[in-house]
Assembly symmetry: C2
Homo-oligomer: 306 residues x 2
């Protein structure tokens, strides 16, 4: 165990006799910060790829932090994990093969195996340390990391997709979920046109991809618009969705979803699932549809060209 009193980290300071973790990033969200009171430092290490900090917070359960940015907290992770997973899976008519790029906390894998229709889940994570630590400190997120449907590959996602591009249609995927960290760090190349091309080449004809948008509509609407336009250079059918996430910047997360299938209205589930309200805590068919309804000013800028 790490002693809090003697632990030194740029993101942790003492206010009024208590220790707080501050998520401060001049580059990503200047002038604003979300803070969590720290109960205990569970683990801190510098992996081959990034600074990994895991602490027990006073009110959000255990928290995983990569390079100073909160990746998930036990209290609200289900919102993000469910929406990024169930939007593409439910928008697809028959999603048998799913690929996760990143997602080392295994939360997306946990959501994918809930679907009987999904037969095969491959997760490609660059940093094995994130998986190991999640199994230990985020057991409810990582509980299906060794599920019989799940195959975990420790590799750079970009490399994995490059190799896949030349393969046959049956080796490609119905759903590809990019669950990466923000562009500042190892995930930088996931937010470029080239990445959308790689995704496109790794998808079956009617396949669906989804990724987090890094910025959100409040923080940097121009960035979100730009990212959507990059996706539109590759995919003819692209939509932007968002969900409430108290522990993420601006209290929300944006998601970009795309497909080559122009007959598929991604904003609606294409199937129903029995016992939906027992399987899911955040997602429902109604949540699916409403997650695409943007405030007027953002809708105009992002979707106005339609």
């Amino acid at each position: 165990m790490v002693e809090l009193e003697t632990f030194e980290h740029d993101s942790i300071s003492k206010i009024g006799g208590k220790y707080w973790f501050h998520e401060i990033s001049e580059e990503a969200f200047p002038g604003q910060a979300f803070s969590l009171e720290v109960g205990e430092i569970l683990h801190h290490t510098q992996s081959e790829f990034q600074d990994i900090l895991i602490f027990r917070s006073i009110s959000f359960g255990n928290v995983l932090v990569l390079n100073g940015i909160i990746q998930c907290t036990e209290r609200d992770e289900f919102a993000y994990q469910e929406l990024i997973t169930h939007l593409p899976v439910m928008a697809h008519k028959n999603p048998k093969r799913a690929l996760v790029i990143g997602g080392g906390d295994c939360g997306v894998v946990r959501e994918l195996v809930k679907h009987d229709i999904v037969k095969e889940v491959t997760m490609v994570e660059i940093d094995s340390m994130v998986i190991e630590l999640s199994v230990k400190y985020l057991p409810n997120m990582a509980k299906y990391h060794n599920h019989s449907k799940v195959n975990i590959v420790i590799q750079d996602g970009f490399k994995y997709l490059s190799d896949l591009a030349n393969k046959n249609e049956e080796d490609k995927y119905d759903v590809i979920i990019t669950d990466s960290s923000d562009p500042e760090g190892p995930a930088e190349e996931f937010f470029q046109v080239n990445y959308f091309k790689l995704l496109s080449n790794s998808l079956k004809k009617d396949g669906i991809v989804i990724m987090q948008s890094s910025e959100n509509i409040w923080l940097n609407l121009n960035y979100v618009e730009d990212l959507k336009q990059k996706a539109e250079k590759v995919f003819p059918n692209v939509e932007y969705s968002q969900c409430y996430m108290p522990s993420y910047t601006s209290g929300q997360l944006g998601l970009l979803i795309a497909t080559h299938d122009t007959t598929n209205d991604l904003k609606k589930p294409s199937r129903t699932v029995e016992n939906e309200d027992e399987l899911f805590r955040y997602y429902s068919g109604k949540i699916h549809e409403s997650s695409f309804v943007l405030p007027t000013w953002a809708d105009k800028q992002i979707n106005g060209r339609k």
Copy 2:
């Protein structure tokens, strides 16, 4: 002007050479805090009722803080002001007379006067200092404080409603918006069954009331459920809605809306407005409907009894 270097306030501390305002409340949201970098202290005073702090932030414009809690920032105030105003006004078929309890920043008044159908707006604010300072430091919010349709009364809202209860139907209101601060402070009595009774007695038969729920579904779902049940002791038709608000706790604000009219589906606008997308930046008919769609776990607990 107040010198930042020598200014002392419980909510402001220096991190990495910069001054940050931390919204910390052991009582209201233990263990989590939103922080804004401070550019300049514009005003600080103790009014008859509360501690009032106004500062220029680095990234959210000017910020009004009462008793240490952020009331509004110039960057995102429109989300809250629009939803709390346009939900009841648009759900009502013919809202001629509107009453605002609280709302000293005059943002709700600004939204109300946008509607030609609204002929008369009364705002009852207990603390005249909040209005004066908003006119000076939040000019875009307070710009219609002296509009010809607007009548401002400096009085305790509870007292104003008590006097109204014995008056005739024509003196009562079509829409009553309670735009108060949280229960910790002068607004405490706004979150009790008695207050819903007072609102009920001040409404026309098909009138609609709305108020902020103080807590949100992530922070304290039991409190939200409890508040809704209090409202249901007085009103047969009560719904819970939420909007994205980056500068509020958990990045959102919850709203409780109620009416005696059981034929009115509050979740849908009952009218349309011309040039909706020019009048409003956040609100639209689609936003109206989707703001009532709650994540599954919260929907079950709050609306499950239906």
